[in-house]
Symmetry: C3
Subunit: 280 residues, 3 copies
Amino acid sequence: MRNPTRINRFLKVLVVTLLIGQAALFSSVAQAQSGPVKVEWLGWSFYRFTSPTGKVILTNPFITGNPDAAVKLEEVGKPDLILVTDAHRDEVGDAVAIAKASGAKIITPSFEFGTVLAGWGVPDAQVMRRNPGGRFTWEGITIRVVGAVHGSAATDPSSKFPLYGGIAAGFVVTFENGYTVYFMGSSAATQDMALWAELYKPDAMIFLMSGFTEPLDVGTAIKLVAGKSPNLKTLIPHHHRVTPPAGALSVADVRAVLDSMGIRIPITDPVRKQVYELAK
Amino acid sequence: MRNPTRINRFLKVLVVTLLIGQAALFSSVAQAQSGPVKVEWLGWSFYRFTSPTGKVILTNPFITGNPDAAVKLEEVGKPDLILVTDAHRDEVGDAVAIAKASGAKIITPSFEFGTVLAGWGVPDAQVMRRNPGGRFTWEGITIRVVGAVHGSAATDPSSKFPLYGGIAAGFVVTFENGYTVYFMGSSAATQDMALWAELYKPDAMIFLMSGFTEPLDVGTAIKLVAGKSPNLKTLIPHHHRVTPPAGALSVADVRAVLDSMGIRIPITDPVRKQVYELAK
Amino acid sequence: MRNPTRINRFLKVLVVTLLIGQAALFSSVAQAQSGPVKVEWLGWSFYRFTSPTGKVILTNPFITGNPDAAVKLEEVGKPDLILVTDAHRDEVGDAVAIAKASGAKIITPSFEFGTVLAGWGVPDAQVMRRNPGGRFTWEGITIRVVGAVHGSAATDPSSKFPLYGGIAAGFVVTFENGYTVYFMGSSAATQDMALWAELYKPDAMIFLMSGFTEPLDVGTAIKLVAGKSPNLKTLIPHHHRVTPPAGALSVADVRAVLDSMGIRIPITDPVRKQVYELAK
């Protein structure tokens, strides 16, 4: 019988150690000078990638208020880039504090979020204003901003109402060695995912596993990408609790819908702070 | 010659009676315990569905300020669910007052509209925050939130400018007996409609017939859905006046564009407050 | 060898004269009573069309603060219509001042931008509130508003944060003689571009050449349109500097990506204030 959470053969788990409170170790991982792309799940939508040449990229670094946060703010160290998929509080997370402390650059989902970040005091030189359709290249890494069907309100103490943060996005990250990850953000399935898959041929897809997501919707998102990217061998969920509450979408649910669609790509159910190696 | 407004053979008109001012009767309809899905047009985008087991679902309950409103606020009774496709005043309508008076739950087009509703004092337990790609299930009824290409500003007395209400949506409602209705909201045609049609196979589509809508656009929306849902047998317009002003899009215009596209599905031009039965 | 900027054979350059400071001449162009569609690039996304019967349509009339503005505000004359693709400062440009001075009508990308314009004091009779999927017809000219994947925040002195301006759009303009131009605004590529191309069969496409645009993305946008509109013979960039800075997307970059996709349609690299004639 299929084990929906069995470890992908394309991933070799490196349980380096339990890293709680050991910022120095994170730092050493970040400085590795060669090897595959490494990724750790740090809770909710917060992933940390370490590139083959040691660059560190965070997604949606949600720590404060995240019951599953696997690191403390002071343990984040010095990332190079932070990708934020929309202005929602759980996606922005602690990006502002981390950027201010580390000098990391934030790649915006759309121009407007850059204005929000400026309003929150992030130095302009660290705000890489991009829009869907745009590109950011740095040190051999290419990041494409792609669309997402999702809202993007920021939370600001100055109002009880939603503050417009532009439009939401996903990111396609191509590392120095060509390995490509599509992080879909909080998007509903959209046909445009097939376009991006055809253009950028992702090897891995980090898909939305939000509690209320319709399984057929996320299954369709994966199907659209898999249909155009023969490279797609790795699926990883985000936006979920370590122990999803009753009724929330689970890895088993996504596995079942993919099976019903004839999609056999394994799903990696990540263990927090384990270091997974991603390779073609 | 085709009569563009002839009554669909899949709809059997039950002219129960003229219900003006007779809230008790609405209530009895709402409590019917079996039978097909029933639907009444109450003006503009305001539809009232009664499910096979008697659950009452409203769409965009626009009464105050709606010159074609077929019911008064005090006649609405006790709906179970209210679907609001975006934060525009004519779509929100009296949803807040109805929810407060009845305890009905409001399904949001996106998370942000929940924040707007909270700002307007709707109790949190009645705000079902969903996003496109999300699902709400209750008592055998499944509601999928799907995308819509449309803005979603709320009107708030605190500003003369638009208040961000998230992104707009459509809804796909599957009743206890499997009958499925796609309410497209105010969306432009988008290829994603074909995705939703393929996934959920709607039996009926409530399409946008806004005054300024390009006929080819709404024809394309219907074509995209019909092309992927062989079940689609019923088309009903919304967002129109009882007597459209000169130049506004009419049922005859939509009929003509569908004919030009080879789509023969009849359009039901609803009479306000008539009860239509929907069955496969 | 291909010259990426060679002049399209479908365009006959009429270097009428250098028009700097000669508002009277603009006026005479605008009053021409017959002939082909004429178009002039006035810097950034600012184009001026003169229709076969002499109607003048501006796109995104960005003068104040535009280092490449080819006209002064007082030289704009009396346009009939202004198309604004989103609420960003460089797209709105001087639309409000021009509308107030000239009586020109502004076609909005979505309803909300009409509210913004009203907030800025544009008389209601000049604000043509449209949404994607909508249509504006006037004097034999048909303008379809179509979607765009882009944010749409307005800048207002009352806040340091983005002001929601609705959703962004593109425009498809069909002139009196049937010649059709698709102005894509600042959109990322989306499959819906194929829908619009199929419906409206544009003869020309004014595509996004923003500094940070991924070449594959804009190439895909053009490919989607070319694939469904056999009429497409003319490509013109917008949203670029006269001399793009190092690293910014250039006509040569777009030419290279189109060549790699097998698309041979020539790109016209417009010279500011030259009058180009557009004909089938």
